[in-house]
Amino acid sequence: MIERVVPTVWAGVLAVLLLGPALGPGFVLSYDMVWVPDLTLTRDVLGLGSGLPRAVPSDAVVAVLDEIVPGFLLQKLVLVGALVGAGAGAAELVRDRSLAARLAVVSLAVWSPYAAERLWMGHWPMLLAYAAVPWLVIAGRRRAAGERSPVWLLPVLIAGSLSASAGLVAGAVLLATGLRRGRRPILLVVAVVAVNAPWLVTGLTHSGQAAAASGFEVFALRGDALPAPLAALSLAGIWNTSVVPASRDGWLAWAALAFLVVLVVAGFRRWWRSDEQRVSILTLWAAGLTVAVAGWAAPEALDALAQDVPGLALLRDSSRLLPLCLPLLILTVAAGVDVVGERLRGSAPRWAAAIVVALAPVALLPDAAWGLAGGIGTADYPASWQQARMTLAEERAPGDVLVLPWSAYRAPEWNARRPVLDPLPRMLTRPSVTDGDLVVGGTTIPGEDRRATSAAEALAVPDPQARASALRRLGIGYVITDRTAGEAPRVAGKAVFDDGGLLLQRLPEERDAVTGHATHPATLVATIGAWAAYVLVWLVATTSTVLLLISMARRRTARVRG
């Protein structure tokens, strides 16, 4: 028991040190991380909106779970759980190694550039996938060895597959380690397909928009102090230089790579000889690195290819799939720590070595500490946002909501001006239309939502009355404007809420107005089927978790009585 407790406690300490102020009251709002007090299960959330379903199924899961656990608390559980889960999973994966080796891989997994950069970028489903990776390797190995699958397999697979990229990572890891000749693959494949069904189906039904997605060059793997391929070796290299800790731009990045390479080289031989799944683990590492480097090496070719190959645009943020490299790093580093430890004589040098390998990842990325040195923190939504939401919920006129100013990202004063994807659409109780264009370093990557393009054209009309008429014809019934977020075009309509900051308007009735975004019946049927499969997996996972808890409680009672 103590064998598991010490690494898990260490992972907890590192998680708290890394998150710091992000654990305070309020919501962590950073780039793509948008959590609201009560997310409504709208058409957009289910992937039936006009925009590319980027937050499927994560938003739907949050919309359901925040009915049970408050949104801000759920977010903290997710962030802490992802980091502690990654550390505890890494230690469990190398359970037969020394305590020093297990503590070293806990630090390596929790305090990695990948975890820090994706946390800052707000890619929490990817953090959960990252945390799930070592556990899925363990589950896959047990299955390949002919043992029963652990009862936690489905919950971990679900948690690790909350977005398209996350689902790719989790599915690839489980299938690569769990599929073996002579073992019936059907159950494993069905489980992987079912947990990924919502984004697979809604992605296919939006394949026209997906093909229009571009920007491989902008979102490609990017070097920091290290050239891009070397940065990828140390699980770094996110495209957005604004979320890279400053220490990655100096000699510490080189030192971190050297530390990692020394331990990997020291342990590689021992790991290779002892691991029956070495080919699968090495293949996963090669796949993760190849995808990351391909985006950096040939972005234009991939951009062109993405127009013809559906789903290829999923890989445009090419370093996102780097968690595939994690199992090899954990296994070889743990072996390396043991090899180095065995060469040291006496307990004092071994203790010193244990301290060095456990603390080195922290010392080499010190500014990941305490909310990424201020990069992330918490904020409370202004009271007026909740009032506007309630006003809209009581409105009876048909139509969706257009969100202004016409831009995707905000830097609100109440969020310490930290950039974040506009939270207003998630705050509202109706489907919304927003600007999908992304501005990166002065380059604009056009959004894929054709309805948003039509809305932009409607807003370009010079007269506010004509704008309102054009918007009504697109199925827009309301316009909400955040005046604190900058200039926005005026639209004619009756103000139903106005506190000086937020303005909610009901657009005038139009004879040829439509009432919202129409969904093709075939799309609707396919999407319902995908969600039904997903809900079924959830039910099985929930049942197995409850049974596990009951059996644990019974065992404990029996032990106490015995």
């Binding site: 495209w239 400053a246 603390l359 500490a369 900058g486």
Partner: protein, 51 residues
């Protein structure tokens, strides 16, 4: 003699890394270098930078 040198060296190395970690973490956290957009009057906030 060799043992004493090993113990002293171990304390120096282990203690040095531990001290460097604490100093690095505290310095980074107190010297906040994060630059958020200086103004919100411009409605187009960048999704990120790639320079």
């Amino acid at each position: 003699m060799g043992n004493i040198i090993a113990i002293v060296a171990s304390i120096l190395v282990g203690g040095g890394v531990a001290a460097a970690t604490v100093v690095g973490v505290v310095t980074s956290s107190t010297d906040n270098t994060v630059k958020n957009p200086p103004t919100v009057s411009e409605s187009t906030i960048q999704y990120g930078t790639s320079d």
